[in-house]
Symmetry: C2
Subunit: 419 residues, 2 copies
Amino acid sequence: MRIVIAGIDGYLGWPLAQHLASQGHEIAGIDRFLRRAWVDEMGGESAIPVAGWSDRAGYFRERMGRELVFADGDLCEYAVVHDLLASFRPDAIVHLGEMPSAPYSMMDVQHAVFTQRNNVVGTLNLLFAMRDVAHEAHLVKLGTMGEYGTPNVDIPEGFFEIEYRGRKDRLPFPRQANSMYHLSKVHDSANVTFACRVWGLRSTDIMQGVVYGTRVAAMDPSDPRARTRLDFDQCFGTALNRYCTQAVIGEPLSVYGTGGQKRGFLPLRDSIQCLTLALENPPERGEYRVFNQFEDVYDVATLARKVQAVGRTLGLDPQIVHLENPRAEIEHHHYKPDHEHLLNLGYRPTRDMETELADVLSDLIPHRERIARHRAVLAPDIRWSGERRRMGTLPVEEASNTPAARPRAQRAASGASRA
Amino acid sequence: MRIVIAGIDGYLGWPLAQHLASQGHEIAGIDRFLRRAWVDEMGGESAIPVAGWSDRAGYFRERMGRELVFADGDLCEYAVVHDLLASFRPDAIVHLGEMPSAPYSMMDVQHAVFTQRNNVVGTLNLLFAMRDVAHEAHLVKLGTMGEYGTPNVDIPEGFFEIEYRGRKDRLPFPRQANSMYHLSKVHDSANVTFACRVWGLRSTDIMQGVVYGTRVAAMDPSDPRARTRLDFDQCFGTALNRYCTQAVIGEPLSVYGTGGQKRGFLPLRDSIQCLTLALENPPERGEYRVFNQFEDVYDVATLARKVQAVGRTLGLDPQIVHLENPRAEIEHHHYKPDHEHLLNLGYRPTRDMETELADVLSDLIPHRERIARHRAVLAPDIRWSGERRRMGTLPVEEASNTPAARPRAQRAASGASRA
């Protein structure tokens, strides 16, 4: 297949390019290196050093024996998108080229507007260019499980059959996103749905859980140019990245709030596996389908304890603290999303989170000083209220992960909790 | 009350300003006169001549005995929005300042991107400015019934209680908008919902039907500066505006497709009445509520016959033709939206569409030559497919409004129809 990867320089894009090329696919990429700029803006840098683009392109050429077609451009510039699709004539487009951070989008009005404009306009440009010059291509669009929020019912994969006042329909499942970033993805999903219905485009919209990990099989383990980034600042690091970097520099693992927030997770290698399955099994013309892409559901306090346990096997002994939660989110809630579509296509989940975490920690330990130098970026101060102020540590009794263990009065006082 | 009207120079904004001022409210407005520019871009002009802004402001001063506070600015410029809210300190903000046309948004990628960026960014700027300098104000946001699309079930007002796999929740009703413009309003609704939940803002989101009419009681009928615009080009004219202008210049009333598309309608005076009721009955802090604002549901072929009948009483004798439908939309469908919230607040609907239509036609007849001069803008050529090509006339048997009257083979061939 001929595959365009938008956001090829990113955390997922670079491993995906290597994997797909190793499978024999022709790859083109587009990137304006904004992820590097955003992390820089936050005062951070990738815990694992990443090569510059020309070095990455050189590695690709040497290892794959062919050129990587590359456009140094912004998806928000229509001509760039149009010309890439018109000249490369892709069979598929994997759209990873969005601003992916909730806290970054909540910093202030400028960052909120940037996020929604950047993500919505980039996706619109892709849809129009597909309509006009790549009509048969398959758009694999990276959404997020966060589009759904945390409803009090099970979450289907995109659509559900309902009976309402005696009539039936199959409707998009309601989205209740919880940041300006997550909302931008909701907007995208609505736009892509419409483009498939009206223009006959075909798309797989991936509601992806939180991805963690540093390795995929296609990477040459001996070549540092193969490595992908791992960010740990408050905006571009996930909870697991934060815990892992904290563990290797001897800082306590910081859980936001009680830590009862449940999310779906999957390792990097599984994300690459799933995206590949989606590409190899395209939908029909005009079909818009949704895959919930994750394997296991954990609450974020349990994850901290997992990192703690794995860290101990590697000679680390991290403690766990709970911080005030900078986000306005429900900390105890029902969470049961479906995830059958990818399993039905043959997805074989990596079940062993502990082994993955051990790899991550092992890959981070050599960069301990680099992480320690930037440790300040681990401390969150971007609050959903708009205020910019460091989070305080929660007292021990408030920090318990088990709702039943919390005093009744405290539960009642917690406005965000729907225990 | 102190009320900001965003889009005060528009079709609804100008009558609303007059009405609210006549009720004793203090009014500030903001507008960058983009509606005038868009209609100009389409080659059209308002069928009813409208005064320039300085004349409108002079009329307001003379009639109301006080100044209209006015910001000549774009909602997409944050500083303008922030400064207006900070200095005027409104109790309420009526947000009518968006690009309101589906065909305009479907013209090409540039117009689609402009529409979504303009509408989403303007609304985000209002939400952030409210959060920071007008936290107690009530945002009355103009959405559209088109956000819901045409599901095969009844449409509640914004939210519905569902039971799904044995669990219950109250969820946002799924939106299935049918143009880049309607999608921009869906995006807005999601953003406003989030701002209310997270920041404690209060908002009434108005899912408004199609508004028609030329008069409200607060207008001085003898002063041309009081009049509001009536557009009839393919982008900024509604089906009813098109029929009425066609009737007065002796052109056949052009129904798109079979004409079975059902929509909710309400006269201008009722829209003003409903917006006033919403303002006078604000929601609680943190509350996001949705009003479906329309009174009667008609299909667009029935409306053409109504205009035809009313026209005959005024000495006009319009014929009816059916054109190919430029839109990708279902032409025969269930349509039963709730609209109880405003009735519960005391809304008294104007039931007599015929009298309203007679007023519209009477107001248009003096401007017959002005309309005739611009008659070319009545013919649609913006297709949802992206192609720009004039619509052909449909043969008589295809043009029937009654699905049962159409031959079975034709029904089966119509992909868009869910009869």
